[in-house]
Symmetry: C3
Subunit: 320 residues, 3 copies
């Protein structure tokens, strides 16, 4: 594996999940693989779960880890070519990425969207240029449009907790006070659509009018604006807020009815409830669910380690 | 050991000191104990000595270390239950602590008091909830009311440098320009009171009127507002500023006479002088003492490693 | 080696370069040397290349690394003696350095000049006091007046890429929008002058009037204000901006003619072009050069590892 950016970077969802679960059962069996190999984690935005779980995964594989926390103000990167750099950008991504590639065998990059210009964000220009110029395998730690380590974690968690061969999974939009990226739901949708193709799940998205995700991520999904209807027979409910894709970055006033609570849970097939965290309690998801037996959120966060570890393991195996 | 928060978390001060000194003599004898174990150090406030010494101690034990520097602004935690999280807090401590507990075998937490509301600070609400929800052993890296790694360091240092079986130790208040927490003196007092019970020291506190510490920490201590009188026959003088506990967080104008200098040192039994650092030179403590033969401040800071190492060792031994 | 601050800390440039190239050929041959040894990297200013490459070098040697990012605001150090510390400085360098020396076997320090007061910057007061009080070997990660790890890297890179026994090396001033320190060119100049003495290079400095470096660093160099003339027969061109030493920290308006581009390159002996990075594209150095076959900038950055590794190796060998 040379790149882990979207679901297209794995040939079989089922296979990568099984490999991750094997690592979970024997975390230290591949320590030789990472010996004298260095993982560089570059954060242009804050991180808790991703940073710790990926670092842990790398250490489980015997790798060294170097973390670079670089917010965009402190280390303004130029991404455009042919620009006279006499302004605020201090280094071109051509040099910055290439240099980091010299010090690291594998790089991870986190770069959030600005939510101002859809075309710019969805071009994934920064991310693609980073991959192009660094010259080493790159794992996405969340980009403008996707969060693939989270999505791989989610399908691992669903696999562990499913009671039927082909559970019904519902991605349910939830309210929030801030404009959040579409990265997590986009990514979850594309992984679930692929899992559905492989016969692993049945996938539905429920969101209010105006919050439809880009069709590039949702092909094959059942899409509805009726949450209660969608929740019927659900085995897993994946709760998440996102801002509008159509009116890019917009937050419409919405009914609190979209918050997931026990009343809605009663409509499901005793569904397990998931969330990528951090979660706004009693705004996105009720405390009664989070503190109750149906919540998988902590187990889900815990599985981030195995998602990262299987990706790093595959990358290490492909290093010459 | 499941928790290291106060002196109550050790059954014998004498024993833990001897075990720390044994580790100092053979720092790498327990490397197998920490193999594949991860220490997470969470700083909600800045740290120099605590961060480096605890990291060093963990590495001596063969552990991996992950450091998270999270100031309260950047990562505002909700601690109250039943709150609709539609404001500035981005994650509830229930989730944040639980997730970190999934990635780490032992956690350390630093969280200073706000010095606004005594009841809130002294409830140690944040710290207690962190312990409750993270599910793994927690070592205090300084909380609102205590700094136990510092106090354990101090009794280790006193043990190394004492010339008599039961030295006289004086905690001496000193001037400062800022309002400082009571955490260090509270903690020092409770450890010295316990050490006095065990027959290890004789303990006196000297502070101006209005700077009395909470009685919860000083039971058994001789307390005086006469510094010169207290210094008589002292073998160790522990210099430290703190703000008022009664008029919570208040700083009264005080006489510069409370600064420790050679004139006052002459009243003692050629006492060794200690301070937890950082120290304001010639405000709290004179340069002539700090640069002279009676100062233990650097040796004291150095011993922070062995205090942390004995605590981590005990926690590792108790992991199932 | 007890200190790596200037070219005076190596007896032979040729020898240290050969030792570095031997490490590059066998990076992990000295892992026992660093076992249970700790490198502390203290950054009072930001760092990308220096931080990562030095960390990597230490890990190659089997060392543990602790990084401390401390900007001057957050951790204001007092450097003057005899001052009553009742102001904004929170710790004296006497204590801060000594304490870090207790936790680390080797320390690295980065501290940029303020570019306000030449005498203060060129006294290297902070750096010298840090060395004096920490009590362990110190490697400069760039100080007010020098960046020796960069310069050692540069001579390593020149040695690898030279086509003649004694190549002509030109340090060429280039435009910039900000006032930059003289540390990199000072350091490059003193290393090149020493290399010239050893018969390894022929060294020329070209800069506009008013940008002459301090004579303390340039003894033996050919100095010119005519760039085109200087470039004739050049085998290596080292492009770098710096602010004025005479009118300290001043930036004069200069002709864009000082930017290095292909036209100027054609005056040379097909010279290799170097820059310490970060580089302002099409302001200091043209994109056509940076993206072309004559650029060494990425290979140069890559060699930072071996410069750091040879210095750390020598320091480890000298530890008692």
């Amino acid at each position: 594996m040379k790149k882990f950016f979207s679901v297209k970077d794995v040939s079989s969802v089922a296979d990568v999940v099984q490999e991750a679960l094997a690592l979970k059962a024997a975390p230290y069996d591949n320590q030789d693989l990472g010996k004298h190999k260095t993982l560089g984690l570059v954060f242009l935005n804050p991180s808790l779960r991703t940073r710790l779980s990926t670092q842990k995964a790398a250490m489980n594989l015997g790798m060294n880890v170097m973390v670079m926390n670089m917010d965009k103000d402190g280390w303004a990167l130029e991404t455009q070519d042919g620009v006279v750099m006499n302004g605020s950008t201090v280094e071109h991504i051509r040099e910055a990425a290439a240099v980091m590639g010299e010090y690291c065998d594998i790089l991870g990059l986190r770069s959030f969207p600005k939510l101002k210009d859809r075309e710019e964000d969805y071009s994934e220009d920064l991310f693609n240029k980073f991959i192009k110029y660094c010259g080493v395998p790159v794992v996405s730690l969340e980009s403008a449009t996707r969060h693939p380590l989270q999505s791989l974690t989610d399908i691992i968690t669903i696999t562990e907790h499913k009671k039927t061969a082909k559970p019904k999974v519902v991605l349910a939009w939830a309210p929030h006070v801030k404009a959040l990226p579409q990265a997590v739901p986009n990514s979850f949708a594309e992984w679930m659509c692929k899992a559905q193709e492989e016969g692993l799940v049945e996938f539905t998205i429920a969101q209010p009018m105006g919050y439809e995700l880009s069709k590039d991520f949702t092909k094959g999904a059942t899409i509805s604006t009726n949450l209660n209807e969608s929740l019927k027979d659900a085995d897993f409910v994946y709760v998440k807020n996102w801002s509008s894709y159509q009116e890019y970055g917009e937050v419409y006033t919405v009914d609190e009815d979209w918050m997931m609570d026990n009343e809605k849970l009663s409509l499901t097939n005793d569904a397990k409830v998931m969330h990528c965290l951090p979660v706004r309690r009693d705004l996105e998801l009720s405390s009664e669910i989070l503190d109750g037996p149906n919540s998988l959120v902590i187990k889900e966060a815990s599985n981030r380690v195995w998602a990262a570890q299987v990706v790093l393991k595959r990358m290490l195996e492909d290093l010459v």
